[in-house]
């Protein structure tokens, strides 16, 4: 399909031009500057700043009520920020009404017009833009092919399955070729299998169209799979903005470490700092040696975070892989729980201090003999590089 066809008429805003003074090349497509929004006395979004570049697949991830949907609705124009600015292509779009923004939104419940056919739903925004009939027909056909709904054009939304409705909503919001497509929990209503295949299709679509996607989700797996960058939100603020890998391997805060994936945390204090190592005296795990973090830790009460799959198990007395030159932390304990998950097995180890340490072991061989039973004594170990030091 071609994407070079001229943009449909949008009278009041020209994002391609940008402000005359700004260096357009450095400017992100979308800039959120110190935006706040209160509902009554409840701050839904709290002095939030964020840059999104053109062509990015950006995910806003957070628990329900963290303000991610409010932020999305401010980008779409359905809510007005109490404070701060939202710049699109360098221009403040606060005074621009929703119908004049070169931004489209795919609603969580799809919001398909029940009295219109699939075709008319997709054509709705094009008619409003005053496109010629023939051009509308071409664009609708293109969109229908894009979301693989050929032959469904005449159906009403209530004659479609959930997955088909989701596609109509997607086609309708893409039809106007927005600069930015906002997706509010786009896959929440689909079942698991359909969700996985749709994730792949959304990613492929975004790559093919080169459009900027901003997706709001509470599902971290979904965000990790689809997005180039993820902004983790909590209580109206961004906790961390990073690519999925950094978010998981280098969480910026205790909250992020706990929210994204599973984690073991040891609270303690830094006792020595030599060469590239920190030694931290922890309450539950004794002295733990960690690599010095890139950003120095300012305050002293800290937490050591270790992901369960980085915690290895071995039998007491058996020498573990000592080939590694890194210092290894060893903690002894008793297996209290074994959860076999197919691809991996999660062991809960009760340390001698009483704390519970989780270890996730990949089941790499079908007839694995290296398993542990409940109440068996084991050594849990992890390298200093696998630990992340976080301020409390």
């Amino acid at each position: 399909m071609t994407l070079e066809s001229p943009d449909i008429g949008r009278p009041n805003i020209d994002v391609s031009a940008g402000p005359p003074d700004a260096a357009a090349a450095d400017m992100p497509l979308l800039r959120v500057e110190g935006v706040s929004k209160k509902f009554g006395s409840f701050p839904a979004v709290d002095h939030l700043s964020l840059d999104i570049r053109a062509g990015e697949f950006f995910a806003l991830l957070g628990p329900s009520g963290c303000g991610k949907t409010t932020l999305l609705r401010m980008l779409a124009g359905f809510e007005t920020p109490d404070e701060g600015r939202i710049l699109l292509g360098g221009r403040d779009i606060a005074p621009v009404l929703p119908h004049e923004r070169p931004v489209n939104m795919m609603f969580q419940n799809y919001a398909l017009f029940p009295h219109l056919s699939v075709r008319d739903n997709i054509a709705f925004g094009l008619k409003r833009a005053g496109m010629a009939r023939a051009a509308i027909d071409t664009r609708v056909a293109e969109m229908v092919a894009l979301v693989k709904l050929e032959g469904m054009e005449k159906r009403r939304p209530d004659q479609l399955s959930g997955g088909q409705r989701q596609r109509v909503a997607l086609a309708r919001s893409l039809a106007r070729r927005p600069k930015v497509l906002l997706l509010d929990e786009p896959l929440a209503a689909l079942d698991k299998k359909l969700r996985e295949s749709t994730q792949q299709e959304l990613m492929e679509l975004q790559r093919r169209l080169g459009m900027t996607f901003i997706v709001v989700t509470h599902d971290q797996e979904e965000a990790m799979t689809m997005a180039n960058r993820i902004g983790v939100m909590n209580a109206g603020r961004l906790e961390q903005v990073a690519p999925p890998r950094d978010l998981y391997e280098a969480p910026a805060s205790r909250w992020v470490a706990q929210f994204v994936g599973d984690v073991n945390l040891f609270d303690g204090e830094v006792t020595s700092h030599e060469h590239h190592r920190l030694t931290i005296a922890t309450r539950d795990g004794g002295a733990i040696v960690v690599a010095v973090p890139r950003q120095p830790v300012a305050k002293s009460p800290v937490s050591v975070a270790i992901r369960p799959e980085k915690v290895k198990l071995s039998r007491p007395g058996v020498a573990s892989d000592a080939s590694n030159s890194q210092p290894i932390n060893r903690l002894e304990g008793v297996v209290t729980d074994v959860s076999y998950l197919g691809g991996s097995t999660v062991y809960k180890v009760k340390l001698d201090s009483g704390a519970i340490l989780r270890s996730s072991v990949a089941n790499t061989a079908r007839l694995d003999t290296d398993t542990y039973d409940v109440s068996q004594r084991v050594v849990a170990w992890f390298t200093s590089d696998d630990c992340v030091v976080l301020e409390q």
Binding site: H99, N104, F113
Partner: protein
């Protein structure tokens, strides 16, 4: 065994028959006697359309019927316009000050005794020195029926997903266009049902009309009422039968419209 649940037991059949008889026997007798050839209301003299003919030759009665239809049509139309606007205001303007007071005041005419509404309107018209006739009755009926329209339209509107209008705005509609192109088509069946409800309410009202009408502009129910005081003529039966038929048709259309509107939105019934 599944059929057993739906099958009517002899007890249910009897109860249903008695209930129906209680409700409809008087009306059935009235309809049958409207085809009576005899001049005496209580004596059966064979089938005839004589009294229908009589009605169509009765100038005063025809005028009253025409007056009633005009009042019903005009007041229902004004009530529908105002009632729909009130419903939109109540549902959409969720947080405006005095909303609950406004909605309470809007519903008051629903429970207000008609004698009181009629009397207060009469006093108003007298105070304004308005000449009583077609327009005073029409205005009075509009105030009576508007709140019924509001109730019907409001429940439909409340069941509509708010994000539909937002989606329309997102796709290039200003708020007015969004309402006209998305919301209005979805609430049209409720608006139609509201109009028909208002029409039938106006058509059979005696109390308010008798307070607010003037000499020479009696509505059909007033005319019938004054005729009956001089003794029941079989002609009255014929007129009543035609009114019943008209109202039955309107009610069936209204309930079909509201059913259609609900099956589209799969939501609570407005009627």
């Amino acid at each position: 065994m599944a059929g057993r649940v739906n099958r009517l037991s002899p007890f249910n059949v009897t109860a249903l028959a008695l209930g129906m008889a209680f409700l409809y026997l008087p009306i059935v007798i009235l309809v049958i006697y409207s085809f009576n050839a005899s001049r005496l209301v209580t004596v059966w003299g064979g089938w005839s359309l004589r009294w229908y003919q009589e009605f169509f030759n009765d100038r005063a009665m025809l005028d009253a019927a025409w007056m009633s239809l005009r009042v019903a049509a005009v007041s229902a139309t004004i009530a529908t316009l105002l009632g729909t606007l009130a419903a939109v205001g109540l549902v959409r303007g969720e947080r405006f000050k005095g909303r609950s007071l406004f909605s309470g005041m809007l519903y008051a005419p629903l429970v207000m005794p008609e004698v009181i509404s009629g009397l207060s309107l009469l006093l108003l018209f007298v105070a304004l020195n308005a000449e009583r006739g077609f327009w005073t009755v029409t205005i009075a009926h509009t105030t009576l029926t508007m709140c019924f329209v509001t109730v019907v339209v409001q429940s439909r509107l409340a069941s509509l997903d708010r994000s539909l209008e937002e989606a329309a705005m997102d796709l290039g509609c200003d708020p007015v266009q969004a309402f006209l192109s998305v919301t209005l088509p979805l609430i049209i069946p409720a608006i139609a049902a509201g109009w028909m409800l208002a029409f039938t309410l106006s058509l059979d009202d005696v109390v308010i009309a008798s307070f607010t009408t003037g000499p020479g502009s009696a509505t059909l129910p007033i005319r019938i009422y004054s005729e009956v005081r001089l003794g029941v003529k079989p002609e009255i039966n014929a007129i009543c039968t035609m009114v019943i038929a008209l109202i039955a048709v309107v009610i069936v259309i209204a309930s079909l419209a509201s059913k259609l509107s609900n099956s589209e939105a799969k939501s609570a019934a407005p009627l």
